[in-house]
Symmetry: C2
Amino acid sequence: MSEERDGRELDAMGVLDGVVVGVLGGTGAQGRGLALRWASAGIPVVLGSRDAARAEVAAKEVAHLVTAAGFDGARVSGADNASCAAQSTVVLAAVPWDGHGELLESLAPELEGKVLIDCVNPIGFGKTGPFPLEVAEGSAAQQAQAVLPGSRVVGAFHNVSAVVLADLSQMEVDTDVLVVGEERDDVELVQALADAIPGVRGLFGGRLVNAGQVEKLTANLIAINRRHQTHAGIRITGRGL
Amino acid sequence: MSEERDGRELDAMGVLDGVVVGVLGGTGAQGRGLALRWASAGIPVVLGSRDAARAEVAAKEVAHLVTAAGFDGARVSGADNASCAAQSTVVLAAVPWDGHGELLESLAPELEGKVLIDCVNPIGFGKTGPFPLEVAEGSAAQQAQAVLPGSRVVGAFHNVSAVVLADLSQMEVDTDVLVVGEERDDVELVQALADAIPGVRGLFGGRLVNAGQVEKLTANLIAINRRHQTHAGIRITGRGL
C-alpha cells in the first residue's frame, strides 16, 4: 500500500513537470487548503484574489506554514485574479458560487487554452440543513465551460474538507477526488494534482455532464459532518481500484 | 472492527423485529440482490412484480440461493406488487425509472402509513457514457413523496452494486449506504436494513431534498465501472465515523 502510494506520487510528479497552479479564490478556505497541500508537495502555486495585497499576505502565510511543517522550497506567490490566471499553466476556481460565472467570464482571456479546474459547490443552507441549488447549466463546472469556450473545464476537489486540508498535522487526507471532464489528458493532469496530496487518490468520474451530483454531494457530506461532528470525505470501493 | 460490525448487526436486528420488507421490482437485479442479502440475514422478504407468478418463481430462486449459501430459514415469498405492498411493513421501490411515479401512485392505498424506500436512479446512457436525467420534482425520491403523501419516503441503496449483491461468495459488501429522509426513526429503520448486510454501513445523508445527487452519483460510479472493469461503491471517510 505504501509502495503503491509512493508510486502514484512519483507518477504524479512526472505529469506535473513545469506545472504552475493558479488558485482563484486563494484566500478562501478551500483554495488556501489545496494551495497549502500543493506547495507542500513542491508544486509552484500562485494564489489569486480580487485584492493583490491580500493574496500576497495569504501566500506568505501559506509558505510559512509549509516551511514550519518541515517541507523545503515552497514556491507560493500572490497576485490579483487576472495576473494569477495569466501566470499559471492550470487554474483552480475556488471562488464563491455567488458571482462564479461572472468572475470566470471576466478572466476568459487569461484562461484561454488552459485547463480550468472547478471545485465550486452550489449549495444553500436552510432551517433543516444544506440543500443543492438549481443551476441553469446543470452544474458550476458546466457554467464555467459555458462562459469559457476557449478553456477546458474539469471538475474536481469538491468533496475534500478544507478543515482537513488546512491541518498539516493530518499528513494523509483520507479521500478520493472524483475528476469529471471531457479530455483524457486533462483528466489525468488533474488526477495527478490530486495524487500529489498524500492520502488522496484522483479517479476519473465521468464526463462533465456528471459534475452536478459531485458538487451537490457536498451537501450530504455537510449533513454527515453536522450529525457526527466530523469532516467527511468519500472513497470509491471496488475490486481492482 | 469485526466486533464493531457484529455489534452493529445485532443492533440492526433489534430495530428490525417484526419487519417484513416488500420489494417492488423484486424480479429486477437491484431488488433481487437486496432481497437475497436480507433473506440471508433472516429478514422476511416479499418480492413484488406486475406478474405474481414471476414473483413467485423469483422468490423460490432467492430462497434456494440463500439455503445453498448455508443460511437457514430464508423466508421469501412472491406476490403481485399491490399484494406485496399490502403484506409488508416497509417497502422498497426497485422499479425502472420509466413508469416509477405512476406505479407508486397506483399503490398509494397499500403504502399508506408505511415507509417507502426509494433506490431508483434516473440515469440515461449516451454515446459518451451515463448521464443524470432531469426530474421535475428534483429526484426519484421526491417524486415518490409527491405521489405518496400518506407514506414516508426515504432514499437509500442507490449506489450498491447489484452484481456484488448477487454474488454471495462475496460475503462482505464493501460500501456505505447514504440514507436520506425526514424522520429520524424512519432513517434509523433504513440504516438498520443497510447494517443487516455484512460489510454495509447505513449513514444518514441529509434530508430528502438531498436525494437527487445520491441517485445521480450512480452515473459517476457506472463511468468508473467502465473505465476500471469493477463494480464501484462508496465509503464515507471522517474521524469518528
